[in-house]
């Protein structure tokens, strides 16, 4: 290796970035060594995204204070294209690929290989093959993006970054949407790239991954750098990271709830199958499933196992499915034609993707909380506004939604608080069965703890919860009973006391 080995490839010194009324970053120092994998962690709202936006030129020079030094040169970007030229590539959580285009078109979009003024497709395809090889992706470059899974799409994004001669690769929550296998693949790739001398910065909430891969971990809290931990000095461990992230000790991530006997079966599904006309195949096969009163039932499995489809099918959101089988609530057979039927029968569904399917970001907290049960607030179709304000304030206080007012727009809240609004909205429908689909995805440790505490309180109050989760520790920490799904079938049922991560994984990968 060269003599620069211990040098910093990137130094961000005393970065301060203010928004009207808020100091998002204050005197943040962030130093990345050449050739390392550097993880950036912190609660939501800690300033990670803002810092990365400063680095990539989204907030151009002059809009922040402080210096960015890349390879010993002070950088003054006026936009993303400048930072790209300097060799910085960011891969965002939401992938920026065009589904209807082929892999090679996507890789070279924006910097096409040209002969004078036409595109040289042969050269493009040949180069794409090389790049795909480099990211261990063995596919035909003419494949359309929409035909690839999320994991492979992620790799295409990295290949795209390499096509721009990247020196510093930044990944924002790269494994958030990936299953365990794909995540492991990606982490291995990062390790290989490190061998080749590529420096990576990874922003992540998944501490297990951070610990397994990081050479250095920098922790942000409330817009300040709290500390940098060095793996070679074995400073990196879950306890230390969590303590520094939240600024307090969390001894147990999963709050205990008083054990109590589960009651009678409240929801039961027999021989439940669904055929999707759109996909031309069965998405759910012969599912037998039940939930008892006062019980948390977890639905574990890998991404694409059919868990979300199952939740939608029992919530009356048919998405063009043809259903067969029996759905019983309190022993009564039900046939939901629309989500409103399911809501009337006491089912509530907190969706996986709260921004796309759960909430209305351009409306305020009050309207979001009451939208699913306006009937109870109105007579003759006219809303009782005072009553509505009381309801919204009640859930704001009960669920400790942090906001100056219930008139705040949802889009201005952090992920954790948005999730609480989503939960509040459904609690207001007074459900008996609450389906939580990935309830803690993309929210920080502190907010997670609060969500778990709320879940426990609801169970004490006699609700039943179906929790869909891809995080095995969460499944083990929160549930009473676990169903495991794979390719549209239930592949196992296990009491949580007897379950281990390995056992669940085994059933999920049948």
């Amino acid at each position: 290796m060269t003599t620069y080995n211990t040098d910093y490839i990137l130094e961000m010194n005393n970065i301060t970035k203010e928004f009207p009324g808020v100091k998002a970053l204050s005197n943040v120092n962030f130093k990345v060594k050449r050739g390392e994998i550097h993880c950036l962690v912190g609660e939501n709202g800690a300033g990670k995204s803002t810092l990365m936006k400063v680095l990539s030129g989204v907030y151009p020079y002059g809009e922040y204070e402080g210096d960015i030094v890349l390879n010993n040169e002070v950088q003054k970007y006026s936009g993303i294209s400048n930072s790209e030229k300097a060799g910085i590539a960011i891969i965002y959580q939401e992938l920026a690929l065009i589904p209807e285009m082929s892999v090679y078109e996507n890789i070279f979009i924006g910097h096409e290989i040209k002969n004078r003024c036409t595109i040289n497709w042969n050269e493009t395809i040949a180069k794409s093959k090389e790049l795909l090889k480099r990211v261990n992706l063995n596919i035909n470059p003419s494949t359309k993006i929409k035909d690839l899974g999320v994991g492979r799409q992620q790799l295409v994004e990295i290949a795209k970054a390499f096509s721009k001669n990247v020196k510093l690769l930044i990944l924002d929550e790269p494994t958030a949407a990936l299953n365990e296998d794909d995540s492991e693949n990606l982490l291995n790739l990062l390790r290989e790239l490190k061998e080749e001398g590529i420096t990576s910065i990874m922003v992540s909430h998944k501490l297990k991954e951070v610990i397994s891969i990081a050479d250095t971990v920098t922790i942000l809290r409330d817009g300040r750098t709290i500390c940098s931990l060095d793996a070679s000095k074995s400073e990196v461990n879950e306890h230390t990271i969590i303590r520094n992230m939240v600024g307090r000790e969390i001894n147990n991530i999963y709050p205990k709830r008083a054990k109590k006997e589960s009651g009678e079966i409240i929801l039961e599904v027999k021989n439940w199958s669904a055929y999707s006309n759109e996909l031309g195949r069965s998405v759910l096969k012969n599912i037998n499933f039940n939930v008892r009163k006062g019980e948390v039932v977890a639905l574990a499995g890998l991404m694409g196992a059919g868990r979300t489809e199952f939740a939608n099918s029992i919530f009356g959101n048919l998405r063009g499915f043809k259903l067969s089988g029996e759905l019983l609530i309190n022993g009564e057979p039900k046939d939901f034609k629309h989500t409103s039927d399911a809501i009337k029968s006491g089912i509530a569904y907190v969706t996986e993707d709260r921004k796309k399917e759960g909430l209305i970001l351009i409306h305020d907290i009050k309207n979001n909380i009451t939208i699913a049960n306006l009937k109870s607030l109105s007579s003759n179709g006219i809303i009782n506004e005072n009553e509505e304000i009381n309801v919204a304030n009640k859930y704001k206080d009960d669920l400790t939604i942090k906001t100056p007012s219930i008139e705040q727009l949802l889009g201005n809240l952090s992920g954790g608080n948005q999730q609480k609004v989503s939960v509040g909205k459904w609690l207001f429908t007074e459900p008996k069965i609450l389906i939580l689909d990935e309830p803690t995805r993309g929210i920080d440790v502190g907010a997670k703890f609060e969500i778990y505490t709320i879940m426990n309180r609801l169970i004490q109050e006699g609700l039943s919860i179906i929790m869909i989760s891809s995080e095995l520790p969460e499944v083990l920490g929160m549930s009473d009973r676990i169903y495991v799904m794979a390719h549209g079938e239930i592949t196992g049922e296990i009491n949580t006391l007897d379950a281990t991560q390995d056992k669940i994984m085994e059933m999920a990968t049948v």
Partner: protein, 407 residues
């Protein structure tokens, strides 16, 4: 001496605080106040440029009455745009149904009221059919309403083919677009006293509701305007209403058109702000998927919004036909564009989910003030189109920029 300078100083700090709050308020609510400011500037500018003719009682009355048929379309279009759809056919639906109402009254000899009810019902049927194609079958509204535009243009030509322009002899019908409310009181000479009275009642009602709302907001500890700012707002709006009413009363008073538009505005304002259905409309526009998962029947909402639009198109047809006292072969040409432009100028978001009925009404007034002012100044019609086009783009740019700042 000393106390006087102290008083002066106090007043100065008071004034500074006041101006500061005003500035903050303006910056925070620029989206809502923007079109009022635009309307104000347009009115002042044209008054100066036309030596006051623009703000004369006669022109003001004309201006407001000629806004009527676009205003009702704009109100319907606001809901359509809120749920992220569009209706390009409203112009010719209005034109066609205007011709039908003329035929019903002339050839079929039906009375005015029955004829109007029939075409309002026809409007609703047309809208329900759109709702079926768009909400149930899933055809994009752009395609459905483009087809509708062609079909109703053809139907309008068929309806007026034999006779050409249909002259309407019914006075009761023609009064809708040209007549004024009677003045049984005749209290003050030279003024329409019933109009003045209604204006005063309106102002009092406005002040009472505002004060009640403010008290309610305070009860729930919401942010409210400071007292002096609140009073200024009340005075400003009351003066504005008062001025317009006073001007109108010096001419012929309120026209029937104004009464109809005010009633439609009141109904739709109530619908959008106070009812479950209104909230559902905003929810569908804000995030259709989330709305569906919240138990809202998106298809039903689509049916309702399109039915209401076509019914208002029928009403617009009545207003326009009666204003011209005849049904013509080209009635309705370009109305849809006026309505869409007015709604956007009035603050409806181009991405749906946001928009106010009152805003759209102001938007319609802005657009027709421009037309009226430019007509008075004798601006060539070609330039008028260009200027209105530019105003539309500026309004949408303004909307997008102010929204980006907030996010």
């Amino acid at each position: 001496m000393d106390s006087l300078s102290k008083e002066k100083k106090n007043f100065k700090t008071y004034l500074l605080n006041y101006l500061k709050e005003f500035k903050v308020l303006l910056r925070k609510n620029i989206r809502e106040y923007g079109m009022f400011i635009a309307l104000f500037i347009i009115m002042i500018t044209f008054s100066i440029l036309t030596n006051g003719t623009f703000m004369s009682p006669r022109n003001l009355s004309n201006l407001i009455n000629s806004t009527g048929y676009v205003a009702v379309l704009t109100i319907g279009m606001t809901l359509i745009l809120i749920i992220r759809h569009i209706d390009l056919s409203v112009g010719f639906v209005a034109g066609f149904l205007g011709a039908i109402v003329a035929i019903l009254m002339t050839s079929m000899k039906l009375n005015t009221g029955v004829s109007i009810l029939i075409i309002l019902a026809m409007g609703i049927v047309i809208g329900l059919f759109y709702g079926f194609l768009i909400g149930k079958v899933g055809i994009p509204a752009f395609v459905v309403s483009l087809a509708g535009m062609l079909v109703f243009r053809g139907l309008l030509m068929l309806a007026t083919q034999k006779t050409g322009t249909i002259i309407i002899p019914n006075d009761s019908f023609n009064d809708i677009g040209n007549g004024f409310i009677p003045d049984p009181l005749k209290l003050v000479d030279g003024y329409h006293s019933l109009t003045l009275l209604l204006g005063i009642v309106g102002i009092v009602l406005y002040i009472i509701t505002e004060i009640r709302n403010r008290k309610n907001m305070q009860k729930y500890e919401f942010e409210v305007l400071s007292k002096s700012m609140f009073v200024s707002k009340l005075i400003f709006v009351s003066l504005l209403i008062g001025y317009v009413v006073w001007m109108l009363s010096r001419y012929n008073g309120f026209s029937w058109t104004v009464v109809i538009v005010l009633i439609v505005t009141a109904i739709y304002h109530f619908l959008t702000t106070k009812t479950v259905l209104g909230r559902q409309i905003y929810a569908v526009g804000g995030n259709p998927e989330a709305a569906k998962l919240s138990g809202i029947n998106v298809t039903k909402v689509t049916y309702f919004v399109f039915a209401s639009m076509s019914m208002l198109a029928a009403l617009s047809g009545v207003l326009y036909t009666s204003r011209l006292q005849s049904a013509t072969t080209t009635a309705g040409l370009g109305f849809e564009l006026d309505a869409i432009a007015a709604a956007y100028v009035g603050g409806v978001s181009t991405s749906g989910g946001v928009g106010k009925i009152t805003g759209s009404l102001i938007g319609a007034l802005v657009m027709s003030s421009l037309t009226s002012g430019m007509n008075l100044m004798g601006v060539n019609i070609s330039y008028q189109y260009i200027i209105r086009g530019i105003i539309l783009v500026v309004a949408v740019v303004f909307d997008i920029i102010t929204r980006r700042k907030k996010g």
